[in-house]
Symmetry: C2
Amino acid sequence: MSHELGHVVTEWVVLFTEDDPLVLDSGETIAPVEVAFETYGTLNAAASNAVFICHALTGDAHAAGHHGDPERPGWWDVMIGPGKAVDTDRFFVVTPNLLGGCQGTTGPSSVNPATGEPYGLRFPLFTVADLVRVHRRLARHLGIARLAAAMGGSLGGMQVLQWAIDHPDDLHAGIMVCATARLTAQNIAFSAVAREAIMRDEHFHDGDYYAKGERPEVGLTIARMMAHITYLSEESMREKFGRRIQDALTPRFRFGVDFEVESYLAHQGEAFLKRFDANSYLYLTRVMDYFDPFGDLPVAIARLRDVTTRFLVLSFDTDWRFDTAHSRDVVRVLSSAHVAVTSREIASPYGHDSFLLDLPEYLATVAAFLDRVAQEVGGRAS
Amino acid sequence: MSHELGHVVTEWVVLFTEDDPLVLDSGETIAPVEVAFETYGTLNAAASNAVFICHALTGDAHAAGHHGDPERPGWWDVMIGPGKAVDTDRFFVVTPNLLGGCQGTTGPSSVNPATGEPYGLRFPLFTVADLVRVHRRLARHLGIARLAAAMGGSLGGMQVLQWAIDHPDDLHAGIMVCATARLTAQNIAFSAVAREAIMRDEHFHDGDYYAKGERPEVGLTIARMMAHITYLSEESMREKFGRRIQDALTPRFRFGVDFEVESYLAHQGEAFLKRFDANSYLYLTRVMDYFDPFGDLPVAIARLRDVTTRFLVLSFDTDWRFDTAHSRDVVRVLSSAHVAVTSREIASPYGHDSFLLDLPEYLATVAAFLDRVAQEVGGRAS
């Protein structure tokens, strides 16, 4: 039996049309909305074994398997596959690119049919609840009324929480990894500076850079470099780079790359340009800033009383982007509304990035939780 | 008796000339070197009561008193003045702008006499030891052979440490506040991204922006905004801004400033443009990255055995730019070389910025230490 998914493909579907547009929290509408997604495994006859993967800020639909090069698997290939924590021998896995993204799903770089030009900043601002609206439509399109589980890390986990609150019968289980119910001032500050770097770039042109054949590359590079500092823990940076000099034993005393950590950041910034759109970065960071489902706590708790979802809430002890205090807040509110929740802080030196990594305790915890879910909902016999 | 210094003035002196240039660690030379400085209080007859203030990354010579507007005192006015921790009734205080700076002392924005144009990036890279060379020359110019104390926060404290190592008879006492003997990979990473923001700005022109009548304002603004995140603690940001909306009760859902923390950062970025030069930012952050006086530990300890300086090493419990672990490393090495050192971690919610603030325990600790110094060196009778 293979332990790899092998070759997978991305599919596309138009989920909202001008006759049936996506109506956002703000009242604004978007149409058409096309969604890029992948599926792995097989939906059982009862359509009860679906696991929905919500990606984080810069993820995409290609979560597992490969598109031709086995050396370059999807972003959560350590998590998803035959015999893995999200076992595709038992579960049918659905993973879309987010609304507002730039990897196949309608977003600010898509053409606005009203003008024939890319939306740019005319793309309406949306909320995490709007992301969930699109997810639900995709699930329905695939014949799934109730999910065995929705899961995600960081912004992905925020979608899971919103989904359970807004549609209390949709999710049998929810897995939130290093997520939050509310960004702190410091969290917002990092994203705000990243956005300023993009929006103040001379090549931004108020978001209408597509037609100019140029992009705010400097701003997007700086945004990504800064974000990477927050994704790694201090100790993992210390271990990974220390004060070592790139390709040399002694410092060269210059402003360009000299320390290994500088080379790493420069590479991350560079690679990001190839795959991400600056406007999508603005929209998908801003949706996180405004996320605050527990803002009106009595209302939130009243709504949570109807929630039947069983939660697994995980955090990592060295994550300082969304540290365990964020997860504890989520657990406290869920518990106070008598929602079933299991939580664990996993020891990992790798900071926020841990949710993407092959960490045995982490993967085993998810596997055990989903094993019980499979028994409850009836997984597919392998 | 007044508790304020009142009106003070900046002075200038040429300390190195073409006949007697500043010879740097690298072997390169700079001439002339002019230094802007201020002094407060009176030097006693034995010239034994001088306290030398070393400023941090963006400080200047104007540490205390005011230049006309009593509402806008110098950057360390809480620390320095009659009856204050650095008591100008007892001590003669000297505070210069750093080599490489942009507030009166020779730096990359100064005219290179060899070309008649500003140095820009042709200004040689220098070390913390080079900063100390200039400080010593200023002290000698003022008739001071041995200082009662040298003191500073952050980069200022790094100069104090280097000074004691390189010139073991110069300092009776040294006060290092939230400083370090070595930046971590994360510390370097933040500065690296800031420099990239400046150097990739289209208006940077490889550092020769002066003649073009423009400056890398976007890059410098982004650098400053990012730095401010690291100067505040998470809790002080939470307390100061939380998730409050600027001038409104509810979010406006937009990309521009909406949260108070965004307004704060934008203001800090803006204000910084008025007073700082982008090239100076490059040089003074890079000098910190390369600082590593304990790099060759046996050599450092052997040299420290000659040091007669008595140290006070302070840190703040919420500082995450240079946390207490940095100070502990300094204390451990000093102690292992039998250098007299007192250390304390001060409780303060304000993060790295604490060293600039009116915190009673902090100021009282410095006052008590300097009181003993005054008794030892013979302060001036007030």
